[in-house]
Point group: C2
DNA sequence: TTAAAAAGTGTTATAATATAACATATCATA
DNA sequence: TATGATATGTTATATTATAACACTTTTTAA
């Protein structure tokens, strides 16, 4: 079965729905707090749902913030690489398409005699909206 | 006073010495365990030393591994950006020089109308040594 | 179709990572 | 030498994440 049409369980769908509604990345315990009304009571239920969603590429983890965000790309079927623009002012996160970047990193890696497999990139700065507000 | 000649305190020097001896990145509690014989007894003492060492650019954090590594570059005076090659086989980490990468990311950011400030890049793959061992 | 395998659930407990708060000490420097 | 900044030692606690186990549901394939 294609990953993109994979059927989610209730817990997985509940967590994904919340992340897709959110403008910012959410922390696991913030997710837990928000969905307790839907019968999810324990951290493990959240972490297990997140693990699966990450595995199928619907959710990404932002490592430097211990936060999770729904993938913005339609039909994303991969959890391998992630690239983000993170606004230091408003915490909004934008996901970069990764094809060019992956190719660039693969090239850079070759120079170090290193076989590229995947990457996480977190770029910090000021987003469009916050630049304009100044 | 130039950052590169900044005098370290005993705790800071003890933590830095350990990280510089290590082939791999170390976790905070692993550092604590290793230096308890030197009078450091509590996690906070380690975290405070790490905070300072990171601030002056002598140590970097590898976010996806919650681990810390001594900077390989002489006279590194900045904690802003980091770029690593991380071997999935042996856990060795190589730090990439960041100038080219920073310029590249700054350019990529402009396209998204985003003002680049700094980045963390973690590239996973197989290092030279592990490729050869196969 | 049904038995076996795989995946998911609910729950309690606990591990691993990191910071708060506060009293005291050290050090640079004016 | 006092004063302000930085660091220290300590206890307690917050935050993030996983282990273990019994049970249920779904998928697969004989």
């Amino acid at each position: 079965m294609a990953l993109t049409s994979e059927k989610l369980t209730n817990n997985q769908q509940t967590v994904l729905d919340l992340l897709e509604k959110s403008k910012e990345p959410l922390k696991a315990y913030a997710i837990l707090f928000d969905i307790q009304k839907k019968g999810i009571k324990a951290p493990l239920q959240v972490y297990r749902a997140l693990d699966k969603l990450i595995e199928i590429g619907k959710v990404h983890k932002i490592e430097s913030k211990n936060s999770y965000i729904a993938c913005e790309h339609k039909n994303c079927d991969s959890s391998t690489s992630t690239s983000f623009l993170i606004c230091e002012t408003c915490d909004q996160v934008t996901e970069l398409k990764k094809k060019n970047l992956s190719e660039y990193f693969a090239k850079q890696s070759v120079q170090a005699n290193f076989k590229y497999s995947k990457h996480n990139l977190e770029i910090y700065g000021v987003c469009k909206d916050c630049k304009n507000k100044k």
